[in-house]
């Protein structure tokens, strides 16, 4: 009897914690475009899925790509998306029956020489994943290594949103949220497209800060990043998906300033891709893109394209892919 009471108290506690957590999640967890991205990923068929970092998000426009290639594609890149995240995105698409024909991995060396930081975007994709084996695998391999608060309190990195709780609540009850609308993601700096592309707009403060990129030094490759790039290649091979890796252009000045780091990274990724049988395009070293690397075309020194030039780049890249028979695919 005594034990029964104890277990009843425990059950009550558990229910209380779950209840408070769901309430807080609802009130604090914001509506993000990652929710829309993942919704498209698991509910529609795509020929091509773009995965990668913020450079890909702002540099690869699926609408332009599709108009050249006559395909349907989606941009699933995200700032803070590491190879481990990209791998699970592709795996989720396969698991939910929306296997693509082609995956284009936007390869940013910075994500291979650092570890995922447990900041606000650490679990953002994980949170939007529907219950699935892939989500469980994702939890096991990424979230489990992180702070226990990521799992026990899914809202905790957004506790600062307490001051805009009214906004979040009204947004979550709106039709737009239910229909995966995108109008609320537009602001003077950028427009989110339902294809997943982010169009960056010119701002007066652009390029005011010269941020130093995380650089390849020859001995700082993160084992985890390399492992998941390999797994991505294996997954694509197993599933019969064509995998292409691309490094989008970075302003000429930046590459010149850190020329040895960029050249070293290029060498490393060229060798790795060759080993894995993946076609790799490093647009910083391809003649066709040399006129698209003027600093004026970018938001910052780090190399995020303005929308207009992203379209130009995507068009040229798509044409190149379409007509390039010299590359062998596995």
């Amino acid at each position: 009897m005594r034990n029964f009471k104890r277990f009843a108290v425990l059950a009550f506690l558990l229910a209380l914690v779950i209840g408070v957590n769901s309430l807080l999640s609802f009130a604090l967890y914001p509506y993000t475009y990652s929710r829309v991205d993942i919704h498209h990923l698991i509910s529609e068929d795509h020929d091509t899925i773009f995965v990668g970092s913020s450079h890909g998000k702002c540099g690869l426009n699926p609408e332009v790509f599709d108009s050249v290639c006559g395909t349907v594609s989606t941009n699933q890149c995200l700032g803070g998306e590491y190879p481990i995240d990209a791998y699970h995105i592709v795996r989720l698409a396969c698991e939910t029956g929306h296997k693509p024909k082609q995956v284009i991995y936007e390869l940013d060396a910075g994500y291979f020489v650092s570890e995922p930081n447990e900041g606000a975007d650490f679990a953002i994709l994980y949170q939007e994943f529907p219950a699935s084996f892939t989500k469980f695998h994702y939890w096991m391999t990424k979230i489990l290594d992180g702070d226990f608060r990521n799992t026990l309190f899914p809202w905790y990195l957004y506790r600062g949103k307490i001051f805009s709780v009214n906004n979040t609540l009204s947004q979550k009850r709106s039709e737009e949220y239910k229909d995966f609308g995108i109008s609320s993601f537009a602001n003077p700096a950028q427009i989110y497209h339902s294809s997943g592309f982010i169009e960056r707009l010119v701002q007066p403060a652009d390029k005011s800060v010269k941020d130093i990129p995380v650089l390849y030094t020859g001995d700082n490759i993160s084992p985890e990043s390399e492992i998941y790039f390999r797994r991505l290649a294996q997954l694509c091979e197993r599933e019969g998906i064509r995998l292409i890796a691309v490094t989008t252009p970075v302003p000429e000045v930046t590459v010149q300033e850190y020329s040895s780091a960029y050249a070293g990274a290029n060498q490393y990724f060229t060798a790795l891709s060759k080993e894995l049988g993946v076609a790799y395009y490093n647009c910083n070293y391809i003649e066709e893109f040399s006129d698209l690397r003027d600093l004026n075309y970018f938001v910052d020194y780090d190399g995020h394209y303005y929308g207009e030039y992203a379209d130009l780049f995507t068009e040229r890249f798509a044409k190149m892919l379409d007509f390039d028979d010299s590359v062998t695919y596995n």
Binding site: G119, A120, D147, F148, R149, F153, L157, R159
Partner: protein, 510 residues
């Protein structure tokens, strides 16, 4: 696997669940299994170091026992015993020294002789400083006849590797810990509740106090020019951070051990209420202090050459000073070792010697103090005098934290200079506490930090007055207890810093 990772939570839950499900006689083996899994998770190759320590100290214990039981000649027993102990200690401290201090030595050799020797890429095995001390303490205990040697090598392996404490202590003693590890434990709801309570309190200290303070501390110490006027807050913040981090970690470790029915030695006893530096070391990292006392301080003080030095000093300086001087020298040696133990850097050596010198000087002047106090009619138990002692000690301790936290001795000295010459508290609000560099939450974090300190202070004052806070709470109605637990539980995500800005436990790097 870090103490704050989800993996560790799952790991502990699995360990506790299995512990009470399997037959009780297998419980210690279960702990051994999980301890080795835990250690291997930091890198399988590190198991070599753990096994090396375990086997050499186990072997030394067995050999000592064999010599004692088979040899009747007392002189021979002592002779062989000495050889065994020296070999055992040499192997273990030798390994620790090579892993921890090779690069320090190379750096200094390069600096002094202008050589260009490359640094070695040695990765420090997890917790090596802690289990080396724990297992060598065992060898000396066996040698001195303070405990019987363990026969079963697997049981002994558990003593060296018990997973909650291997990362950052407390440094356990065989005669107090081993019996508990091997005993059979029945499931006790109340004990589990108490264990979880302590774990929550530990995480509260780590995440709400240490991590919030840590954001300010790392900003101030990483740009001492920009934040020159905040030096004093830098070191005060560090005193909160270090205490919250280390003692919070100890509470978590102790709480987890309680879940298995095991009680570890206390490592902290409200150190900032200490009334002298000696008192401070009786309250701060207690198990390191007692280890040093038993295995370095007493043996050195009682050694033959110290004896001769004592006799010489008595002749030269008179009875009182002559008696104290050798003790002071031994004490300086102890704190030199404490400093070196903290890390391979000159600033840690200065940190150790600073403590040692203060204690030695106050030891030499103890008689003087007594006569001054008498002359000035100071009543040692008056509240104002005790408060004076506490504040004086806190000040001295904070000076030592400059050496502990700064990158180098010159930086520490520069910051001390700034601490007394410039003071611009309003700049605290310009320190970003969010990953995106925003200062919008800075004021809020400062308020949270102050409130957290107030909670800790109240609890500490009660404990200093002899109130057992946890006993008192246990007597309260269930509803109140649950409310306290829930408040602590939700304080972790609501008020604590995310690890992106702070990192893991400080002492887990030793």
């Amino acid at each position: 696997m870090s103490l704050i990772s989800m993996k560790f939570v799952v790991f502990v839950a699995a360990a506790v669940f299995g512990y009470y499900v399997i037959p009780k006689r297998f419980q210690w083996m279960w702990l051994l299994l999980f301890s080795y899994i835990y250690y291997a998770s930091s890198g399988v190759k590190f198991l070599f170091f753990l096994l090396f320590s375990t086997l050499t100290t186990y072997g030394a214990g067995r050999l000592l026992y064999a010599v004692r039981t088979s040899c009747t000649d007392k002189k021979k027993v002592r002779f062989y015993g000495r050889i065994i102990v020296v070999c055992g200690l040499f192997l273990n401290f030798g390994m620790l020294a090579v892993m921890k201090y090779t690069n320090f030595a190379v750096l200094n050799i390069n600096a002094v002789f202008g050589t260009q020797i490359d640094l070695f890429s040695l990765l420090l095995p997890l917790g090596i400083s802690f289990y080396t001390f724990q297992s060598t303490g065992y060898v000396l205990d066996v040698y001195w006849g303070k405990c019987e040697p363990e026969r079963n090598v697997l049981r002994f392996a558990l003593f060296v590797s018990f997973f909650p404490q291997i990362l950052q202590g407390p440094i356990g003693r065989f005669h107090r810990l081993a019996g508990q590890l091997y005993a059979e434990h029945t499931f006790d709801f109340q004990r589990i509740e108490r264990g979880l309570e302590l774990i929550l309190w530990g995480f509260f200290k780590k995440m709400v106090l240490a991590d919030n303070a840590g954001v300010f501390v790392s900003a101030i110490f990483s740009d001492t020019q920009k934040y020159a006027g905040l030096s004093i807050f830098g070191v005060l913040g560090y005193s909160i951070q270090l205490y919250g981090d280390f003692s919070g970690g100890m509470d978590v470790v102790q709480g987890i051990s309680n879940l298995f029915g095991i009680t570890l030695d206390d490592n902290f006893k409200r150190p900032y209420f200490a009334r002298s530096i000696t008192d401070f070391w009786h309250r701060w990292h207690i198990t390191l202090g007692t280890w040093m006392k038993d295995y370095v301080f007493y043996p050195v003080s009682l050694s033959g050459w110290m004896n001769r030095f004592g006799r010489f000093a008595k002749k030269r300086f008179g009875k009182s000073i002559g008696r104290t001087l050798p003790i002071c020298v031994a004490n300086l040696i102890v704190f030199l070792v404490v400093g070196i133990w903290h890390g391979a850097a000159w600033k840690f050596i200065v940190y150790g010697l600073y403590n040692g010198i203060i204690i030695a000087v106050s030891g030499l002047l103890a008689g003087q103090y007594r006569s001054w106090k008498k002359a000035l009619h100071i009543n040692g138990s008056a509240w104002w005098y005790q408060l004076f002692q506490i504040l004086r000690t806190f000040l001295l301790v904070n000076i030592s934290w400059f050496f502990d936290r700064a990158d180098s001795v010159p930086q520490a000295l520069g910051m001390m200079h700034n601490a007394v010459t410039t003071f611009t508290p309003s700049e605290l609000l310009s320190i970003p506490v969010q990953q995106n560099g925003s200062t919008a939450m800075t004021a809020a974090v400062l308020v949270i930090l102050a409130a957290g300190c107030l909670v800790l202070f109240c609890v500490s004052v009660l404990q200093e007055r002899g109130v057992c806070v946890r006993e008192a709470l246990a007597k309260r109605p269930l509803v109140l207890r649950l409310a306290v637990y829930l408040a602590l539980f939700f304080a972790l995500p609501c008020l604590g810093q995310p690890p992106s800005l702070t990192g893991g436990f400080i002492y887990a790097q030793f």
